[in-house]
């Protein structure tokens, strides 16, 4: 009959927030590398400086934007293997129309985004009408989309940077700030959509238990079409941003990134069995990998270890997440 606190302590309540553990891991990672890479001479810290932070954000955004879509697909109980290919083809279409087609920048960007729409519709058709497992449907789409990129370019590339203004500030924001801005904005928008809209709850319900979702009146075809469409369009956004910021459209860009993108979503708390996950977590997951890529590059002799380290990190984080979920249950 002791005195019971009416509510859990603040820290513990905070911990129950889905994204808290991912954020904690990211912060720990930054603290660790900040300590490990403390400069031996001079005052300039090679890791903890604003230019480096922007660099990590800029490159992580390529994965992060697509990982938002990947997380949504995974939450719905599916999987998408095509984002890497869609990123490349979107960059090729935007670059090709802008550089060789003589199109304006706006229409070229829209055409690049339409690559996502087309690929998303193809996957939805295969998953819903043909009843293919998402793994196979998106594997096929990955090959087709990547192949179209090679057919269009025949190994060449489109150099957008030649035609884009130097020191370009679209809408007053420096070019390098655009990828993180887009990523964070989209993450917030989809976070709200997943939690406040009926659609979002239906996505969680579909992934949690498809039969139950069906009996509760959720239109599975509509939900599935929407998630694959969103995933492919977000990958296309990433490809268009990549083409504009890096100044190139090329068919072999983002080769194999689908696995990094899925890993970001999973590290961010998405469960491959569906029904669980977070779009903000996926972005944090992309940042965890971005910091690793950046910091490991600064350690002499770490070159050949980093694949292994990244693999270990994925497993450790997911195992920790599982323990956490079990204890919370």
């Amino acid at each position: 009959m002791g005195v019971r606190a009416p509510r859990a302590p603040v820290l513990r309540r905070l911990w129950r927030v889905r994204e808290a553990s991912t954020l904690a891991i990211l912060l720990l990672e930054i603290v660790f590398f900040g300590w490990y890479l403390w400069p031996e001479y001079g005052t300039y810290h090679p890791f903890l400086n604003s230019a480096n932070a922007l660099l990590v954000l800029k490159y992580s955004s390529i994965y992060g934007i697509a990982a938002i879509g990947a997380a949504i697909v995974i939450i719905s109980g599916g999987i998408d293997l095509s984002p890497g290919a869609v990123i490349a083809l979107a960059s090729v279409v935007t670059g090709g129309l802008f550089v060789e087609g003589g199109w304006g920048l706006g229409p070229s960007v829209v055409a690049g985004l339409l690559v996502g729409v087309a690929s998303g519709l193809l996957v939805s058709l295969l998953v819903i009408a043909v009843q293919l497992p998402p793994f196979i449907a998106t594997l096929g789409a990955m090959g087709i989309v990547r192949g179209v990129g090679f057919v269009v370019t025949e190994g060449r590339y489109y150099d957008l940077s030649r035609l884009l203004p130097r020191a370009w500030h679209p809408f007053g924001i420096p070019l390098d700030w655009w990828p993180p801005t887009v990523m964070i904005t989209l993450a917030l928008v989809f976070h709200v959509a997943m939690h406040k809209l009926q659609w979002g709850r239906a996505v969680y319900a579909t992934g949690g238990n498809e039969t139950a979702a069906l009996f509760s009146g959720i239109s599975l075809p509509r939900i599935k079409t929407s998630v694959y469409l969103i995933s492919a369009v977000l990958a296309a956004v990433s490809g268009v941003v990549l083409a504009l910021v890096q100044g190139q459209g090329k068919a072999d860009l983002a080769m194999g990134y689908e696995l990094d993108i899925i890993a970001s979503a999973v590290v961010g708390g998405a469960s491959l069995s569906g029904g669980r996950g977070s779009v903000i977590g996926a972005v944090l997951g992309a940042l965890i990998f971005g910091v690793l890529r950046n910091a490991l590059a600064q350690i002499p002799g770490a070159t050949f270890y980093d694949r292994m380290i990244v693999g270990m990190v994925v497993i450790v984080i997911v195992v920790m997440d599982q323990i956490l979920v079990k204890r919370g249950a």
Partner: protein, 317 residues
Amino acid sequence: MKRLVVAVAAVLIGLAVACGGEAPNTGTKKYRFAVIPKALDLPVFDYARKGAERAAKELGNVEVIWRGPETGDQLKQKEILEAFITQRVDGIAISCLNGDFLTEAINRAVDSGIPVVTWDADAPNSKRLAFYGVDDKTGGRIMAEEAVKLLNGKGTVALMTSMGATNLQRRLDGVLEVLAKYPDIKIVETFDVKEDTVKAAELIATGTNRYPNLGAWISVGGWPVFTRNALVPVPKSTFVVSFDTIQPAPQLLKEGRVQILIGQKYFGWGIEPVKMLADIKAGKMPPAKVIDSGVDVVRQDNVDAYIEAFRKLEEGK
């Protein structure tokens, strides 16, 4: 929560140990030069790494950070280059997967006071201070001329390349330029092996089935000669001319599976750029913007001498 923190700390400590566990050392100032290959998974670059590390050791006041993308991923290579710029290393030597793609970043490095030299594959439109390597177009021309000699000016040829890399494209341009002068030589196909030795072996097998009377294979990269078995399906009547001379290539040449090999200065790729950067730091600029390393043309008659010279280089003599 506590357990979680302990677990994370354990992983990070493990990570530190895996990275060599070297605590930040204090002592005299060393120059930190970043040396960036195109990819970590190509054997030729391993010799460049040995060369770079050896040069650093000889110079004494230089530390080499060898870092590249695992596979030929140009975006990852640019990320690595940009990370070295924000880290303010003392010099950068890079073999560019795509020179134009890296030009802006290289210029930014040079503008911020970090000297950049390129090796193996150049970024000719950038502000890099010098390039050390083969003139690729010349290399391609030499290959084609050797093939023409083998074929006595007539026959069919299959080409092998990997699409997307600027230097390979230039070698291919050199090959095509020479072959265009010989109307009796017909190019049946240009195969894209995607920088993959396994894919190269597969393409050689299928290509041989399709063109059993093929006159010659010309490969602008070393994929057919990086593995022992890729050339097994090729009949004796078909000649093979390939770039690159690292083992087992010379052995294959001795066995008669390949007739001409074009060798590059693999150790030089590492040694020369590191020395150049050290000179630049000491106030001495490179003698020219483009330093042609030249190529070694290896045939049946000089292969033994080549193997011996290579062995000496490998042992550091």
